[in-house]
């Protein structure tokens, strides 16, 4: 090997070449492009979060959030809500018998009556909810136990629903319509509300069952299977195990509210997020004549007790509520806004002090430099 040098350049006879007069004249110019991107010199805005810039933001947030919070809180406080538990856990509660004598096989329905008094009149539209506690509508096995194709009126899915519906998919050879655990456990208590006139007469409060489900659900997502009429459309399917009536007879009073597009059914099919939940049951529309929709006074709630909850330690409630633009009674949002607004304001003040203190210090420290 012809390498030789005196500065320990070559350790093991490596080839290396060097040309005295810059022999590498063949080098192509591979000069990189001088573009702003490649040179990392794109024009840029370079904001920095300093106390000075953040301070105004904190004050502004404080000033905006606190009024919003107060507004929300006041609104929420103006909403009237009445809640009554009718599960019948205690011996002295009116539904105790119904709750404890429940049997899936009984043909007669058990009913009970709960009396209550509204201290204040309810204005405008009043919404009637039923509430369930400790009911895991968000359980994974439960949530997926449905067939949206079937519910959308798909003919094949009606006869052969998804396996997700197991074990509520078939009874013998007949498929269940609607299939799945959600549909099977449809809430089937019926609630009736009576106003007790000062005279003692019971005056039934009109409960509207339209408009309780999302419009898009009622009109697009849920559809009845095609057929001359509903019974033929659902021919060859079985009603869910726990149901008393087939799906096309859910609402005898209104033929358009039957089958998959029954609004109570649709409401139930929208599974709740948390184990304690409420679902819209009826709407009590404001009547033009009288001033308040539900005047203060005594009321009677008539319950047809069909839905057992004691077995899993659940509770059932009936809720009456008015509603504002921001929905039902929920002081949380207002309080949260007020708190966050205050914190921001407070932090703003703290930062102002710190900023002032350190700014002068660092300024004085910088001067000698």
């Amino acid at each position: 090997m012809m390498a030789s040098s005196y500065n320990a350049k070559d350790e093991d006879g490596h080839h290396s070449g060097s040309v005295s007069h810059g022999g590498a004249g063949t080098a192509k110019s591979k000069k990189p492009d001088n573009t702003a991107f490649k040179q990392q010199r794109l024009p840029a805005w370079q904001p920095i979060l300093t106390a000075g810039t953040v301070l105004p933001a904190f004050f502004v947030i404080g000033l905006i959030f606190i009024p919003i919070g107060i507004g929300l809180y006041v609104t929420s406080n103006n909403i009237k809500e009445f809640e009554i538990d009718y599960t019948g856990v205690n011996v002295d509660s009116p539904c105790y018998t119904c709750a404890n004598n429940f049997s899936w096989n009984s043909t007669t329905s058990c009913s009970c009556t709960v009396n209550f008094t509204l201290e204040q009149p309810f204005e405008n539209n009043v919404y009637m909810y039923y509430g369930l506690s400790n009911f895991y509508q968000n359980h994974r096995r439960y949530v997926k136990s449905r067939d949206d194709r079937q519910l959308n009126g798909d003919a094949t899915a009606l006869k052969d629903p998804s396996n997700d519906c197991e074990p509520y998919r078939k009874i013998g050879v007949e498929t269940i319509a609607p299939c799945g655990a959600i549909a099977n456990s449809l809430f089937n208590d019926s609630l009736e509300l009576y106003y007790v006139e000062p005279s003692g007469a019971l005056n039934a409060v009109p409960l509207a069952k339209k408009g309780i489900a999302w419009w898009t659900d009622r009109n697009v997502k849920f559809r009845n299977p095609a057929g001359v009429d509903l019974p033929t459309a659902f021919k060859g399917t079985a009603k869910p195990v726990n149901w008393r009536k087939p799906v096309y007879e859910l609402d005898p009073s209104d033929p358009d509210n039957n089958g998959f597009i029954n609004e109570d059914f649709i409401v139930w099919m929208r599974t709740a997020a948390l184990p304690t939940f409420r679902k819209l049951y009826r709407i009590i529309h404001k009547n033009q004549s009288s001033t308040s929709t539900l005047p203060s006074g005594r009321y009677v709630l008539n319950i047809t007790y069909n839905y057992p909850v004691l077995s899993f330690d659940g509770r059932k409630r009936m809720i009456l509520s008015t509603i504002s633009w921001m929905g039902g009674k929920n002081p949380f949002l207002g309080i949260a806004y007020i708190t966050v607004g205050s914190i921001c304001f407070f932090l703003g003040v703290v930062l102002l002090i710190i900023h002032h203190k350190y700014d002068t210090r660092s300024n004085s420290a910088d001067i000698p430099n």
């Binding site: 390498a3 060097s18 590498a24 990392q40 895991y136 997502k221 921001m326 929920n330 949002l333």
Partner: protein, 1054 residues
């Protein structure tokens, strides 16, 4: 690379025998064993058409990350999962497909390249005729004709050349990027062959060592059988071996014998260890209420199996904490990010016509963590552009080219020595790059090439002094002396240079029949062998020159009598013919021959400092990086360079740990004394800001003593630790007289010290390769000494000064980018998964996902991926100018400060806090109330969508808060991602998608947006989530600002 043992060959003996022309040796010599060598079919491709899919899949799933995601996917397929298999299958499929296409394409290119090589026509001599065949049909032992500008189809032994002197020129551009021509020599006994018939009549065998991995090492022997005579044996060295892939130049044709063939070995490294995180709860009570029965099959399952599948389901649910996309994003960031180094115009060198190169992109962020820089001196700190400065003959010295007043006899010998004792080759202009040079200089001239710039400088210096080395012709060296007479010396032997001996010699026979040995080398290796001459004067002069930073060489000679020459000749031949331990035996032979020399004089060659080397070193110092210079030069020269390059300043207190000192005192005493000095000084100056800085000088001999002491068990304690302790307190260390391997040892020593600092080695020559490979980050300089360093490095830069930008700007940026990338990824997935985890407490631990499948799948792929990727590509927390102006900013990120536990913990806490805010914010909002104005209720999917919307916005805005450099790209991806999320959600919920068997998201998003409280709570939750981070940022900046913070503000104020 070029030699590869085939499996079957490993069992053979150490040497292999090749029969030239497939002819048997004459009977009696050796038994002819027909050896089966594989044919010359080159296969560098990895796959064939048939095995591509299985093999590629296998290769890909060997990576732990891919395998992990595959397992998750399989689990999802098998068990009843909370999320659809698509959520993990789709990203995995995407990653696998893209990789497979990329690898497939690359392999297809390799196939094409292989094919063109294999089909390449080759001329083979068979029965005295030239037959054209294809490259892959070549067999070991074939005699091949290679013509000018053809590429060697395999490794070849050079038999004869069309040139009369039996040499050929070769470029190895395609091998190592060196464009210069290298000279190879034909086997002396066969170089006379001119025609095919003659070559074909050759009857010889070649014995050689088994193929070695070292590209440039070859030891062999050729046995030539002539009629009925004893075979003649000749040694074969690397100078006879032509490597495959090199190209023949300046030579019409050559005859060669095929030696070996190769196959390509690929190394795969599996990287990435991923950690499985899972949560595991089990709630048997009220597991099965009447409204929610299990199926029969589920009920029949054994409780253990049920527990196991539940565990798997949780695993699936929480596997998003390590998303596929993180893996992909980090890879992409590293790969794409490295382009900014290549594109950098400031690191482009006009002279070389090249910019920085990135050989591996895995180390970008380590560039920001360097604590020790080990630099070579020659060619790295200095230009390696040698200029002959002075010569000192017989004690008299003269700068420049003035006449020397000295004895004529010595002068003649001295100049002849310099003219003869070298391995410089002369190249005639017009034959090299003919037209270009010829026109340029007007007349055909010759110029010198050599692997060592010193030699070129010396020979050119001699030319200016009137002694011109003309050429080597037929083993005669021709010199044109002062009187324009041509002197001819027969070159008998070259005792090559090596870095252990540090000298080289030639034995020549003058026209008067005298045998002369000329030797030149480092002073330390010459003086002990000198018996006469004005040693004292020369020594003084050499030292004086060394102090000035010049490179010095000593020249000596010896007259050999005919008998002495015979002895020497025998030693050399024996050693050269040895098959085993040839190196060692040669060294012994050299040692015997190079003795009893007469000192002639010394030379001094200047090597100027590279432009801005001092500035660069100063910046590195300010950045808190310790710079060590490792050089083979002598101490004085090196120290002078160090002062010039500001490695040592006037105020630096120099500690010496050299052989000279250890000869006086024991190593033990010196070490402990130095240690005391250092420690005392530091404890005194602990109060003052400027700790007096120390510079340490250590030489190779002492270093090996220190290292050896440790191996022996160290009776006097552990020197290694003491040494490290001293080094730690020195800002600069100079190691001189280093052998290449010692350089690597030092790097290793520091690397293994208890702080485990990140080390960077930078060098330009082959002698730096070992340390470049040893250090965490190896940087090669594309210098004059070839490309070995650049090829073996992780990054290659044209000049030393570019190191400053490389570390201070690119390294810094990459580090903060990757730090943010990794932690942000973790943060956003904590934010993503933790609400899901909290939700399990409210859904009976049923593994119900909080978010819709589409959201689960797309969260990491499209909603939040681009902003962070682009951030990690273009973020500049401080401007480039500031980084360059204030190197001390580099200290802010030292010791991995952005990826340490406190920081990581902060991100995790922030993630958990945000997740808690998201979840419980939504929880309290949903708690038992409605938030529409028509009394209708929302379900679990609205709940999830609310959390998810807050999540996406918070996580994106958090990144926006961290962004200090808002280019249009950042604006585009950040706001674009948010917009995309909204549009996607509207679309996803806007249609009944016919291909889906569930419509759970139908109108959910729009219903949510139609309610006022949802808007209000989204705004509120985002604000609350971002608040702690903003406060932390502002407080940190105000109360205890780092240097980086200050620099940002100054820029801001401008």
């Amino acid at each position: 690379m070029f030699f590869c043992q085939c499996v079957g060959e490993e069992n053979w003996e150490d040497s292999r025998t090749v029969y030239i022309g497939h002819k048997e040796p004459p009977p009696g010599a050796e038994a002819y064993i027909p050896q089966r060598y594989p044919d010359n079919h080159i296969v560098s491709s990895k796959y064939t058409f048939w095995n591509f899919i299985p093999k590629n899949l296998f290769e890909q799933f060997r990576r732990i990350a891919n395998f992990y995601f595959l397992v998750i996917f399989l689990v999802q397929l098998i068990i009843d999962t909370p999320t659809s298999p698509i959520t993990s299958g789709l990203p995995l499929f995407f990653v696998i497909t893209v990789t497979a296409i990329k690898q497939g394409y690359e392999d297809w290119l390799r196939h094409k390249a292989d094919c063109s090589i294999n089909e390449c026509p080759v001329d083979v001599v068979q029965q005295g005729k030239v037959v054209r065949t294809q490259s892959h049909k070549l067999r070991v032992g074939d005699i091949v004709v290679v013509r000018e500008d053809e590429t060697f189809p395999c490794d070849l032994i050079f038999l004869s050349s069309s040139r009369y002197d039996g040499i050929c020129y070769v470029t190895t551009t395609s091998l190592d990027g060196e464009s210069s021509h290298k000279t190879y020599y034909a086997v002396p006994d066969t170089m006379a062959f001119r025609t095919e018939q003659e070559v074909d009549s050759l009857h010889a065998t070649i014995e050689c060592e088994q193929p070695q991995p070292d590209l440039y090492k070859f030891v062999g022997r050729i046995n030539i059988y002539k009629d009925k005579e004893e075979p003649i044996s000749r040694t074969l060295g690397a100078e006879n071996l032509l490597l495959r892939g090199a190209t023949l130049k300046n030579t019409q044709h050559i005859y060669v014998c095929m030696m070996t063939n190769d196959s390509v070995v690929k190394i795969y490294k599996a990287v990435i260890n991923t950690v499985l995180k899972y949560a595991w709860q089990w709630s048997p009570d009220r597991d099965e209420p009447w409204y929610n029965h299990r199926t029969e099959i589920e009920r029949q399952r054994h409780v253990v199996i049920r527990a196991f599948t539940d565990f798997l389901a949780f695993m699936v649910l929480f596997n998003y904490i390590i998303p596929v996309s993180m893996y992909v994003t980090v890879e992409m960031q590293k790969f794409l990010g490295s382009y900014f180094i290549t594109w950098d115009e400031e690191m482009f060198d006009e002279e070389l016509g090249q910019g920085a190169q990135v050989n591996t992109s895995d180390l970008n962020e380590e560039l920001g963590q360097v604590e020790y820089v080990f630099t070579d001196k020659t060619g790295t700190l200095t230009e390696n552009n040698m200029e002959f400065i002075e010569c000192c003959v017989d004690g008299m010295y003269e700068r420049g080219l003035g006449p020397l007043k000295t004895k004529k006899e010595y002068e003649d010998l001295f100049f002849r020595a310099l003219c003869l004792c070298h391995t410089v080759q002369v190249k005639e202009e017009e034959t090299v790059d003919g037209i270009k040079r010829g026109i340029h200089q007007g007349r055909p001239t010759s110029f010198y090439i050599s692997s060592s710039p010193d030699e070129v400088a010396l020979v050119e210096g001699m030319k200016r002094l009137g002694y011109t080395y003309l050429r080597l012709k037929d083993n005669y060296m021709e010199i044109l002396n002062k009187d324009d007479e041509i002197e001819r010396f027969e070159l008998l032997h070259v005792l090559n240079f090596d870095s252990v001996r540090r000298r080289m010699s030639v034995i020549v026979k003058s026209s008067s029949g005298e045998y002369l040995l000329f030797c030149k080398g480092a002073d330390s290796s010459i003086f002990p062998r000198v018996v006469s001459g004005k040693v004292e004067q020369v020594k003084a002069r050499v030292e004086q020159n060394a102090v000035e930073g010049l490179r010095t060489l000593c020249v000596a000679y010896r007259r050999l009598s005919a008998s002495e020459y015979q002895v020497a000749c025998r030693h050399l031949t024996e050693a050269k013919l040895a098959l085993q331990d040839r190196e060692q035996r040669l060294a012994q032979a050299y040692d015997i021959i190079e003795r009893d020399l007469v000192l002639l004089g010394a030379t001094a060659v200047e090597d100027r400092l590279q432009e801005k080397a001092a500035d660069t070193i100063e910046s590195l110092h300010k950045a808190g990086i310790k710079v060590w210079v490792l050089t083979g030069d002598k101490m004085e020269t090196a120290a002078a360079t160090c002062y010039a390059s500001k490695l040592f300043r006037r105020s630096t207190q120099i500690l010496e740990l050299t052989k000279k000192r250890t000869e006086e005192q024991s190593l033990h005493d010196v070490l402990f004394e130095l240690n005391r000095t250092v420690l005392r000084q530091c404890s005194i100056s602990g109060l003052s800001v400027d700790c007096l800085d120390f510079g340490l000088i250590i030489d190779g001999a002492t270093l090996s003593a220190i290292l050896k002491s440790n191996q022996e068990g160290g009776g006097h304690g552990n020197y290694r630790e003491v040494f490290l302790e001293i080094c730690r307190n020195c800002s600069a260390v100079l190691c001189c007289r280093m052998a290449p391997l010692q350089k690597a040892q030092i790097v290793k020593l520091i690397k293994a010290s208890k702080e485990h600092p990140i080390t960077l080695a930078i060098g330009d020559g082959a002698n730096d390769v070992s340390m470049i490979l040893e250090a965490h980050v190896g940087i090669g300089i594309m210098g004059k000494e070839g490309r070995q360093a650049a090829r073996n490095s992780d990054y290659a830069i044209p000049k030393f000064k570019h190191l400053k930008k490389m570390l201070l700007v690119h390294g810094h940026y990459y580090y903060i980018r990757i730090a943010e990338l990794v932690q942000y990824f973790f943060y956003k997935n904590v934010c993503f998964i933790f609400p899901q985890f909290l939700y399990q407490f409210f859904c009976g631990f049923s593994q119900q996902p909080l978010y819709d499948t589409a959201y689960l799948t797309l969260y990491n792929i499209s909603f939040t991926s681009l902003p962070i990727l682009l951030y990690s590509l273009v973020e500049q927390h401080v401007t480039m100018e500031t980084l360059k102006r204030e190197p001390s900013l580099y200290r802010d990120i030292a010791k991995n400060s952005l990826l340490r536990w406190p920081v990581f913990l902060y991100w995790t806490c922030l993630g958990v806090f945000d997740a808690v805010i998201f979840f419980f914010g939504a929880y309290f909002l949903f708690d038992n109330t409605t938030f529409t104005s028509n009394g209708q209720m929302f379900g679990n999917w609205t709940f999830g969508s609310l959390v998810f919307t807050v999540l996406v916005f918070t996580v994106t805005l958090k990144l926006a808060l961290d962004t200090h450099h808002w280019t249009w790209i950042n604006h585009f991806v950040i706001w674009g991602s948010l917009l995309f999320y909204v549009i996607f959600s509207l679309l996803w919920g806007g249609i009944i998608w016919p291909f889906l068997n569930y419509q759970r998201m139908y109108y959910v998003f729009m219903q949510m947006l139609s309610s006022g409280p949802a808007w209000l709570s989204i705004i509120l939750l985002i604000t609350v989530s971002l608040l702690p981070d903003v406060i932390k940022k502002v407080l940190c900046r105000t109360v205890c600002p780092t240097a980086t913070d200050r620099a940002q503000v100054t820029v801001f104020l401008w």
